[in-house]
Amino acid sequence: MKVLDDSGKGVAVGSRIDIGELDLPLSGGAAALIVFWKRL
């Protein structure tokens, strides 16, 4: 389902993001899976 039309291509594999800046309830585990969802 397309939710927004003004987006880019999504964050690229191999790039790096500052997990802390995302302000998500993550506590620094070995890996984090971030899943974007929306009610259909």
Binding site: L4, R16, I17, P25, G28, A30, A31
Partner: protein, 496 residues
């Protein structure tokens, strides 16, 4: 997705579901509907969604602990995804084992043997930032506990706006229990005593053992230590006091208003001047300015005396320009509720119809027997590391004192507590993870000065500069006011 999580959770995989354009309520419903054990959080404006995806749901992103993106796709191929996750967890485990086998702790760094418990006392600006920053850096084997007697955090810089009716109470307070959703244990309790030798905090309901301690208890205001305070003064530094000032200003029909600093040091050095300027604007708006006098009484020789004199002169000029009386070197001695007078040590007495006062500040009583307080009555900490000199025990924010090259003390202000908290969190996390701590506090800080009528000034720079702080000072304008508003919104959203 849930199967993947259950399979790898014990090896350090965390899963978080983000709902673009969703609400807290709809996220909760969705979580319950699907029986999810992982957090489900809203992204109400789609900010994260726009930044990280191409606009399609579901979108899955896998990152390792260093933030490297390993997978970013609209599709969810369980088998491929499982291989990718297993790969990163295996690499992480090998690296950790290698690190454990070879790394020797640097001199002065304790090598923790097991999971550590970091306890933070106080959920003000410093405590909250420290807790969140630590949680971000340490995995869930390590416990992070924050103890505060209050149920809510009140964003103190906004009390000035509350006082003149520009904010409602619910706009500036947030429940501390929300930190629980961020992996932080929140304990609502009164801290009674700290035993630094036994490494125990005693509270009104029990005891909490710690491996690392961050004292962020702030400065306690002591209006009760001033005879007559409750009869004739309104406390500028409490939520209740600010609400009472608002009511008093609404009822006020003209007369003499005084803003009084009862003693030094006091937190947020600009606050009495901002209060006077905001009250002036409020009375002008109500058409009472011609029937009112406003005066500031302070023991300081110039506003904000830690800063270069140019800033103090600039603030004094602002007061003068608005017809506000400024009475420096007014060493407060007593309040006389019957004639409604405040009295200075040199005998000056001023009769006031409305008195807004900053109570004396003290270190929290829980510290009295801790051995942590220095001769100043506050905790003396290393200006760069915020260490109290006791292994694993740090102090940040208003409860501390840091001597500047000028011989004066670093002002007590939230901006410093915030920066110090980030430094302490990094240092503690580094120690726990066996790395040499390198983060240091650089003494940089800034401050908005609300002047009323939708304007604010700004000053910021290095307070550690020798021989005196070097600050950039900006003239009041609407932009700075909106900058402060934006900061308030960001802060409350960022940490809760």
């Amino acid at each position: 997705m849930q199967r993947v999580y259950e399979r790898f959770a014990s090896r350090g995989l965390e899963v978080v579901y983000v709902g673009p354009l969703e609400t807290v309520e709809s996220c909760q419903e969705w979580k319950e509907e699907h029986g999810l054990g992982s957090p489900v959080v809203p992204d109400p404006e789609g900010t994260l969604f726009r930044a990280l995806t191409s606009g399609w749901v579901p979108w899955s992103i896998l990152v390792d602990s260093g933030g490297a993106v390993l997978f970013s796709e609209n599709e969810f191929d369980e088998a491929g995804f499982t291989r990718a996750i297993a790969g990163v967890l295996d690499r992480g485990q090998r690296a950790t084992e290698g690190e454990r086998a070879s790394a020797e702790p640097p001199p002065g760094v304790r090598r923790p043997a097991s999971a550590q418990h970091v306890v933070i006392l106080g959920a003000g600006v410093g405590g909250i930032v420290a807790a969140r920053a630590l949680r971000r850096r340490l995995d869930q084997r390590h416990r992070i506990t924050i103890i505060d007697r209050a149920a809510d955090h009140v964003f103190a810089p906004s009390l000035l706006w509350l006082m003149v009716g520009d904010r409602r109470e619910d706009q500036i307070r947030r429940p501390l229990e929300r930190l629980g959703r961020k992996g932080i244990e929140v304990v609502r309790d009164e801290v009674l005593e700290i035993d630094v030798e036994a490494r125990v905090v005693r509270t009104s309901r029990g005891r909490v053992d710690f491996d690392y301690l961050v004292v962020a208890l702030g400065a306690r205001t002591a209006p009760d230590s001033v005879a007559g305070f409750s009869e004739m003064a309104l406390d500028l530094y409490s939520l209740e006091g600010s609400l009472r000032i608002r009511e008093a200003l609404d009822r006020f029909e003209g007369g003499r208003v005084g803003v009084l600093v009862t003693g030094m040091p006091f937190k947020c050095p600009a606050a009495p001047y901002e209060a006077a300027l905001l009250v002036e604007a409020r009375l002008r708006k109500r058409g009472l300015r011609d029937r009112s006098e406003i005066d500031v009484y302070t023991p300081e020789h110039l506003p904000m005396p830690v800063a270069p004199a140019a800033l103090g002169r600039s603030v004094a000029g602002l007061l003068e320009g608005r017809g506000i009386g400024y009475h420096p070197l007014f060493t407060f001695e007593a309040m006389r509720p019957e004639p409604r007078e405040i009295v200075a040590a040199d005998g000056r007495a001023e009769r006031l119809d409305l008195l807004i006062a900053i109570p004396p500040h003290r270190a929290p009583e829980a510290l009295a027997s801790s051995g942590l307080l220095g001769p100043s009555g506050w905790i003396h900490v290393d200006g760069e590391t915020l260490s109290t000199g006791r292994a694993g025990i740090f102090a940040i924010g208003d409860v501390t004192t840091i001597k500047l090259p000028s011989g004066k003390s670093l002002p007590k202000a939230g901006v410093f507590a915030h920066a110090e908290a980030e430094v302490v969190a990094r240092r503690i996390a580094d120690e726990i993870l066996g790395r040499a701590p390198s983060a240091v506090f650089d003494g940089r800080g800034y401050c908005w000065i609300e002047t009323g009528n939708g304007k604010a000034g700004f000053a910021g720079g290095s307070f550690y500069a020798d021989p005196e702080p070097t600050l950039r000072i900006a003239r009041p304008g609407r932009l700075w006011h909106w900058g402060k508003v934006a900061f308030e919104k960001w802060w409350l959203r960022r940490w809760f």
